[in-house]
Symmetry: C2
Subunit: 380 residues, 2 copies
C-alpha cells in the first residue's frame, strides 16, 4: 500500500484532526461519510453530495452484491465510475446488513449463508468473498467481515461471537492481500464488555490494519453506554491510524465520539431524516410536517448556505412535505447533509484551534432543546 | 397591460417562431412549459428546470387552491417567490382538473361545486374565483375558466357546454380586469366539431384576449382527429397573438401542432415518464427498466448535454430504476425535459431558417420507430 496515508495535524485532549490521503482525494478528519447504499446517496446527485463538503461516501457490500452484483459493477468500470463519484469510497463488509435485513441466516465458521431481502435468492458471504466483492467494487477503504450478534446477548455469546469475528478478521486481512492505494480496516467488537473490547482491539492491532473501526454500537444502547465502551476501546488502538465509529450517529453522538478520539463516522440519520421531513438546524431539530411551519417565511436554518435554506422558506418545505413531492426529500436531505458537514468542519476547526470544549458546549446546548424528531438509531 | 408583448420573428408555412416578452423574462416560441403542478416541477429543482432551457412553467390552480391555498401563497409573497422560480408562470383555471380529479362535481351557470381529491372538502370555482386565485398566485398568464365535458359526448352536449364556456370566458375576462404586465388567455372548446370550434374561436376573438388556447384535445382522440381539429381552429385565431395547445403532447404531436401554427405547449408526459423509467432519446423512446440496458455502458442519449447523459451510463440508470432510487426520477425527468427543450429549440431554429419540413422529417423518422413506451395521454 503506497497511496493511503493518515496524518494528524492537531489534537485537543483526546480529539484529533488530520487528513487521510488517497489517490482519489483527501479526507479531512473528523469526517462524516454519507450513505451511498445502493450506488446513490438517496435523493442527491453526486456533485450535490460534494457541494455539502463530503470527502468520501460509503457503499454497502450487502446491497451492491445483490443488485446490481459486484462482478457487474466491475465489468462496468467499478463503483466510482458507475455512480459518478470519483472521490474516495469506503465499503462495509455486509456483515451488519446480513444481520439486520436478510432472512434465514446460517452462520458457520466458514461464513454466513442468507436469503436476499429483495428476491429471496440464496447467497453466501465469507471473509474471502466479502473482500473479493469490495475489491471488485474498487473500494478505497475495505472493511473486514465481522459477525454482528443480536442484542441483548450474554457475555458468553458475545465472547464466542467475538472470537469468530477475530478469526474472520485475520482471514479478511489475508484475502485483502496487497492492494496498492487501498486500505483494509479491522472492526473492534465485544458488545458493551470492556475487557472483550480491549481484547478485540489488541488482537486487531496484532494483525495490523490500515485503520480501526468500532462496530456493534449505535444498536439501541444508551448514549452513556456507547461512550463508556469507546472509553474502554480507545486506549488500545494505535494513535497513528484512523478510527471509525460505525453507524453513528446523531450530532451529539458524533461530538461525544470526537471528544474520545474518533476520526470517521457514517450514519443513515441525515439522509433518512431528509426523506421524512426531519431537519437538523442550528436552533435544534424540527419536523417540517408540523403545521406551525405553514406560513413561516423564514429559512430552515439562517446559518446554512444550502439551497433549501437560501432559496426556499420553511412554508414551502412544509408544503412540499405535505404534498409528498420528491423535492421535499431532495431539499431536506441536502440540508441535513450540509448540516452534518458543517458540524464536522466546525469540529475540525475547533480542534485545530484548541477550543473544542467551547464548541462542544454550544452544540450540546442546541441539542439539549426539546426535539420534534426521533430519527431512530444509526442502523441502515 | 403594458409589459406583455408577442413578436413574431419568422414563419415557415403556418409555423411561427417569436418571443413573448413579460417583465419576468422572455418566452421563446414555440415553447414547451413543464408542469409545476403543486409548486414544483416534480423531481427537479427550479435552477435545473431553467438549465434544461425552459422559459416558463405551468402551475395548476386546482392543486394550489386546495393546497397550500391561494390566499396563503399570496401572503407568502406569490407563487414565483414561493416555489423559487422567478421567470414567467402560466396558470390554468382549474376547469380541467375539476373534471378529471375531483369528486361530486355539480356544474351550474354560476360555476362548479366539487370535492377535493385530497381530503373530500367542498369547494366552489366560478369564473370570478378562478381569476381571483390566479391573481393571488401572481400568475403571468391566466386562463379563463372553461367547462371540459367528458367524452364521448353528443354534438348537442358539446354545443351546450361550449355556450357555457363562452359565457364563462366573458365573465373571466371581466374578472381579470386590468392587470398591468399580466395576460389573460381564452380557451377554444367545441370538441371535434369543426363548426363549433370555429364559432368558439370567433366568439373569443370578439371578446378579445392576449392569447388563445385550444382546449379539450389530447383527451384520447386519435392524433389525426386532433390535427383536423387544429386545422379547423387556426384560421379563426388572430395571427398576432400567441396560440397555446393545452396538454399536448408527445414529440410528434408537438411537431404536428407547430406545423399548424401553435406557439405554446404543456404536457405531463416528460415529467411523468421520468418517474416511470421512460426516456425520450434521439434514437427513439426507451424504457430503462428493460434488462437489455443492464450492462450498457453507453449514454442514454449521445446527443444530449444533460447530467443523466453526460455523467451516467444506461446501466446505472437501469440499476437505480430497478432499485426504486429517487435519483432515477431526478435524472430521467431532467433528461426528458432537456430532450423536450432541445426539440423546441430545434423547431425554432428550423422555422427561422425556413427548413422546418426537413427537420420534421427527421423527427418523424425517429418517432416512427417501434416504441418501448406508452406514456399515455397529455392530461394531468
Amino acid at each position: 500500500m503506497t497511496g493511503f496515508r493518515f496524518a494528524l495535524h492537531a489534537t485537543d485532549g483526546a480529539a484529533r484532526t488530520g487528513t487521510i490521503t488517497t489517490p482519489r482525494g483527501e479526507i479531512r478528519t473528523p469526517a462524516f461519510m454519507p450513505l451511498g447504499t445502493a450506488g446513490t446517496v438517496k435523493a442527491m446527485l453526486p456533485e450535490q453530495v460534494r457541494e455539502t463538503g463530503a470527502d468520501i461516501v460509503l457503499g454497502n457490500t450487502y446491497h451492491l452484491m445483490l443488485r446490481p452484483g459486484a462482478e457487474r459493477v466491475a465489468r462496468l468500470g467499478g463503483l466510482h465510475k458507475f455512480m459518478g463519484w470519483e472521490r474516495p469510497i469506503l465499503t462495509d463488509s455486509g456483515g451488519f446488513q446480513v444481520m439486520s435485513l436478510s432472512d434465514l441466516r446460517k452462520i458457520t465458521e466458514e461464513g454466513v449463508r442468507f436469503r436476499s431481502h429483495i428476491d429471496g435468492s440464496e447467497h453466501f458471504l465469507s471473509p474471502e468473498r466479502a473482500m473479493e466483492i469490495q475489491r471488485l467494487l474498487g473500494s478505497d477503504i475495505q472493511m473486514v467481515l465481522d459477525e454482528c450478534p443480536r442484542l441483548p446477548a450474554s457475555e458468553a455469546e458475545i465472547e464466542k461471537s467475538l472470537a469468530l469475528s477475530m478469526r474472520w478478521a485475520k482471514r479478511s486481512k489475508a484475502a485483502f492481500g496487497e492492494q496498492p492505494d487501498r486500505a483494509c480496516f479491522g472492526i473492534v467488537q465485544g458488545g458493551t464488555f470492556a475487557h472483550l473490547r480491549k481484547r478485540s482491539a489488541e488482537e486487531l492491532w496484532e494483525i495490523g490494519f490500515d485503520g480501526y473501526a468500532v462496530g456493534g454500537l449505535a444498536v439501541g444502547e444508551p448514549q452513556a453506554v456507547m461512550f463508556e465502551t469507546l472509553d474502554a476501546v480507545m486506549p488500545h488502538l494505535p494513535a497513528d491510524r484512523p478510527r471509525y465509529l460505525m453507524g453513528v450517529g446523531k450530532p451529539d453522538d458524533i461530538v461525544g465520539a470526537v471528544l474520545r478520539g474518533i476520526d470517521m463516522f457514517d450514519c443513515v440519520i441525515p439522509t433518512r431524516a431528509g426523506r421524512t421531513a426531519q431537519a437538523f438546524t442550528r436552533e435544534g431539530p424540527l419536523n417540517l410536517r408540523n403545521a406551525r411551519h405553514a406560513e413561516d417565511t423564514g429559512p430552515l436554518d439562517a446559518h446554512c448556505a444550502c439551497p433549501a435554506c437560501t432559496r426556499f422558506s420553511r412554508a414551502y418545505l412544509h408544503h412540499v412535505v405535505k404534498a409528498n413531492e420528491i423535492i421535499a426529500s431532495m431539499l431536506i436531505t441536502w440540508h441535513n447533509l450540509a448540516y452534518y458537514q458543517d458540524l464536522m468542519a466546525d469540529l475540525r476547526t475547533a480542534i485545530a484551534q484548541g477550543r473544542l470544549a467551547a464548541a462542544v458546549a454550544e452544540i450540546a446546548q442546541v441539542y439539549a432543546r426539546p426535539a420534534e424528531i426521533e430519527p431512530g438509531n444509526g442502523s441502515v
